[in-house]
Symmetry: C2
Subunit: 341 residues, 2 copies
Amino acid sequence: MVASIEDVARLAGVSIATVSRALRGLPDVASSTRDRVLAAANELNYVASPFAARLASGRTTTVGLVVPFVNRWFFAEVISTVESELRTAGFDLLLYNLGDEEGRARFFDVMPMRKRVDGVLVASLVLDDDEFKALTALNRPVGLLGLERSGFLSARIDDVAAARNAVDHLVGLGHRRIALIGGDTDDPMAFTPPLRRLEGYRAALRTGGIEPDQALERLGYFTVDGGRAAARELLTAADPPTAIFAESDEMAYGALRELHDAGLRVPEDVSVVGFDDQPLSELWRLTTVRQPVADQALDITSRLLTLLAEDELDGDAVPRDPGVVLPTEFVVRGSTGPAPA
Amino acid sequence: MVASIEDVARLAGVSIATVSRALRGLPDVASSTRDRVLAAANELNYVASPFAARLASGRTTTVGLVVPFVNRWFFAEVISTVESELRTAGFDLLLYNLGDEEGRARFFDVMPMRKRVDGVLVASLVLDDDEFKALTALNRPVGLLGLERSGFLSARIDDVAAARNAVDHLVGLGHRRIALIGGDTDDPMAFTPPLRRLEGYRAALRTGGIEPDQALERLGYFTVDGGRAAARELLTAADPPTAIFAESDEMAYGALRELHDAGLRVPEDVSVVGFDDQPLSELWRLTTVRQPVADQALDITSRLLTLLAEDELDGDAVPRDPGVVLPTEFVVRGSTGPAPA
DNA sequence: CTGTTAGCGCTTTCAA
DNA sequence: TTGAAAGCGCTAACAG
């Protein structure tokens, strides 16, 4: 009912081997032959069965993308970009969404990617050694997005420097009590940025001659509500901050709301800085760190694909220049101003 | 190097057919035999090659999910839910993100799902007859999410009624000049809700004895910026509205911002209603229509899977009760109030 | 309950 | 430049 390679071969008057070669654009096919095959395939509306091809060749032309969430801006952006790059290259995307801690455990235990992908992309997860081992055991190239590890391809930003920049800005405005609202660094579902951004925050304070104060570090849930709750705690404490650095725009939104409800003006009473530069941040005039998410995704995807293409040639390509760091941009809007007198 | 079914068979001292049966949980395998096979498979860390299985059985245990975007709340939520349901059922998810008009055209032209999925899920796209035909030509069950069409499984909300509710609320508060900010109904990348919500808006007005005024209908881009631009136009026109119904929360956010910048108070001067109830809407006290996105996704996914399972038995199951409509909930928060005197 | 065997629809030598 | 033929690693009759 649906055409197979034999039907095409018959119609074109060649063998199935020739059809296979012609359709895949391999060399050493007479162009007249190729034309005939193409015409026949077209007439029969033929496409090769990917499973048969994969079984025969051992190549899956599929990449697995592992994310901790899909419904957060960063990851949605990543998925979108990776999908389109893979599609363009003729690859399928198999999406693995970890979801929660249990899902994560099951994932690394079962390793559902086994025998079904040529390469793997992992976005922003903090992986322990066992998990890296599980990934390595796949025996396939792995690209990391938003984190790095020696021996793996990676694309990321410099979270430490970006956070330092952001806090430098606040210090430069005369702020001395600068709070941090961040992700929980112990959370098993955590991703890497929180650790780095906390580090950059502390470094900037020290450079500015300010000793980090644990009371000003609020490590919540990397959500809007988390940011809001953290801001509430900060505001009701003795000696509240005059500035807040949130490790994500979402947390900053929560903080902005809480400040508003508390009757505090931004930036006159309290300055706020976010991280990401989501679309809504311009709307709310949030000063923030813009990170190039699509660029990171593009970069890691294309380098993984290159590696896969090379693998095809010499069997075991080793990534050169495995760790790429992309620049961030500090975007000053209306949520930051001089420290109040 | 990596174990095959033969290795397992040898180790367990049975034939490969028995291994296949035991591992798939088929009946008519002695439990002692099954145990031995399981032990052998476990020892060799064996998993079946999906491609070989698919080639031999004709079943792909894969579902294709087609979305127009991944980085919007609704679709991200859908993807997340569908992924987890499929994973639980042992199915792979192949994600197809149309992206832009060109991507959409290419998609329906090439039909990259051909020969690689057992079933298809389509989220919220307005499809023309040719596109439905292309989908039907796959000869696989198709589930629609957020739209419906006779002969297809579908799960959706009643957009007309939900919009009517929202506008009824405004009418009940005494508003007479009620604007609509909506998606472009002619946009080739449009999805279905805008048409329905516009319809409900007009119906509610008429019921309230108000003749719809085209000058108050602003069909923008279904984005934050679109909502903002639309609000700006509405506010600067002669006889501006006292209430705005936005067809999505995102557009409502844009409108809220514009109102704020224009020095208008919400809800004292202007009331605003959104649609979706995204997480940020509670933060901004937006009165809105809550739609159960995960429930819709769960519903359509599970019914598609059921159909696929039945197909396996009797070859050609026909969907009973194909169209499911899930309830919405109107959530009154702080962005709506009595019409100004 | 278990084994034998014939494919599934391709890709890839190897020969010609 | 092309064809023949041997798999790829499973599933699914069919036989026993």
